[in-house]
């Protein structure tokens, strides 16, 4: 059962430049989508009255597209600080389950390496990292390299976006709004291990789709993932 157990079959996890570069390369296909999203964020933020400094600081410290957009919705002076923080927290809840999924890499790193890597973890860099881990990848710097690549493009594009015009028409024209989905579908297709996965996945996906209609933020991902994984664990262990 545990072919991926916490020590990756006894081999040690490494943390090298080569691994970081591999992670960076894995992000290149979605850079156009991330940059487009960032440019739009910067533009909308400018319209909402955020200064370049506020945009840069938000991207540097929060670095989470969906929650940054949510914060713009709530950005009226005087700022509803508690509402902003709660909203951002709810949108980012899914991250709580992503860290543990990378335990086979992170648990073997020095704490500074692990916690720095987690600072730049996004859905995309996490997804590619889990795929790399499943392929037997042992270089945990992959996560940091992938994350930092998106971090750089995100910060730059959100700042530039404030000076750019409204690009949403162009983004739709070139299908950039679909690029992230295309990326995740390709990852998912490469992710399949055995029929053993079918039931947990179906439950996770089904619960998530149903819950999305009712729940705020990313509660739907948390709920779906917990339901599917608990079912799988219960079936394996009972």
């Amino acid at each position: 059962m545990n072919d991926l157990a916490v020590r990756l079959r006894g081999t040690t996890v490494s943390f090298t430049w080569a691994g970081a570069l591999r992670g960076a390369r894995a992000m290149l296909p979605i850079v156009p989508g991330a940059v487009a999203f960032g440019l739009v964020y910067g533009f909308v933020a400018g319209e909402k009255g955020l200064s370049v400094l506020e945009i840069a600081l938000t991207s540097l410290l929060v670095f989470a597209g969906a929650s940054q957009f949510l914060a713009l919705e709530l950005w009226h002076h005087p700022l509803p600080v508690a509402g902003l923080v709660m909203g951002v927290l709810v949108v980012n809840l899914r991250h709580l389950l992503m860290g543990p999924a990378l335990l086979p890499w992170l648990a073997d790193l020095r704490p500074a390496q692990a916690y720095a890597s987690l600072y730049v973890m996004t859905d995309e860099s996490w997804g590619a990292s889990v795929a790399e881990l499943r392929r037997g990848g042992r270089d945990a710097a992959f996560l940091l390299g992938a994350g930092l690549t998106l971090y750089g493009f995100w910060v730059a594009s959100t700042v530039l976006g404030r000076a750019a015009g409204d690009l949403s028409g162009m983004i739709e024209r070139w299908g950039l709004d679909y690029l992230t989905t295309a990326f995740f579908v390709a990852l998912l297709a490469g992710f399949w291990r055995s029929r053993n996965d079918a039931l947990p996945w179906a439950v996770a996906g089904g619960v998530a789709v149903a819950a999305k209609a009712f729940l705020p933020g990313t509660w739907y991902i948390v709920l779906g993932a917990v339901a599917g994984s608990l079912l799988g664990a219960w079936r394996d262990v009972r």
Partner: protein, 102 residues
């Protein structure tokens, strides 16, 4: 930038990092028994499915076709980039033909 803006951004960054680091922080402190190990084994796939299914479901008929094409391309060729390009191409074609989007 006002102090309130600065503090709000700082607080948003802090809670976001807490979600990124918190799961790992907690998980590495647990002594995993058989059930917890099995749960961690299933967690990545389940998070993945819960993330992707609503994304695809919400993309409308154009997105469904594109997702199907991208999925098949990946399964058949194992070429990641080709799968993305295939999905995107089908999406743009469907959009051009005026198929409904999400």
């Amino acid at each position: 930038m006002s102090w309130t803006s600065f503090l709000a951004i700082l607080a948003m960054g802090a809670v976001t990092y807490a979600t990124r680091a918190g799961g790992f922080w907690l998980a590495r402190r647990l002594e995993p028994g058989p059930f917890l190990r099995a749960w961690l084994e299933h967690l990545p796939g389940a998070v993945f499915a819960a993330l992707v299914a609503p994304m695809v479901a919400g993309a409308g008929p154009v997105g469904w076709l594109a997702a199907g094409a991208g999925f098949l391309a990946m399964r058949r060729t194992g070429q990641f980039l080709l799968a993305i390009v295939t999905g995107l191409a089908v999406y743009l074609l469907g959009q051009e033909l005026g198929l409904p989007k999400g």
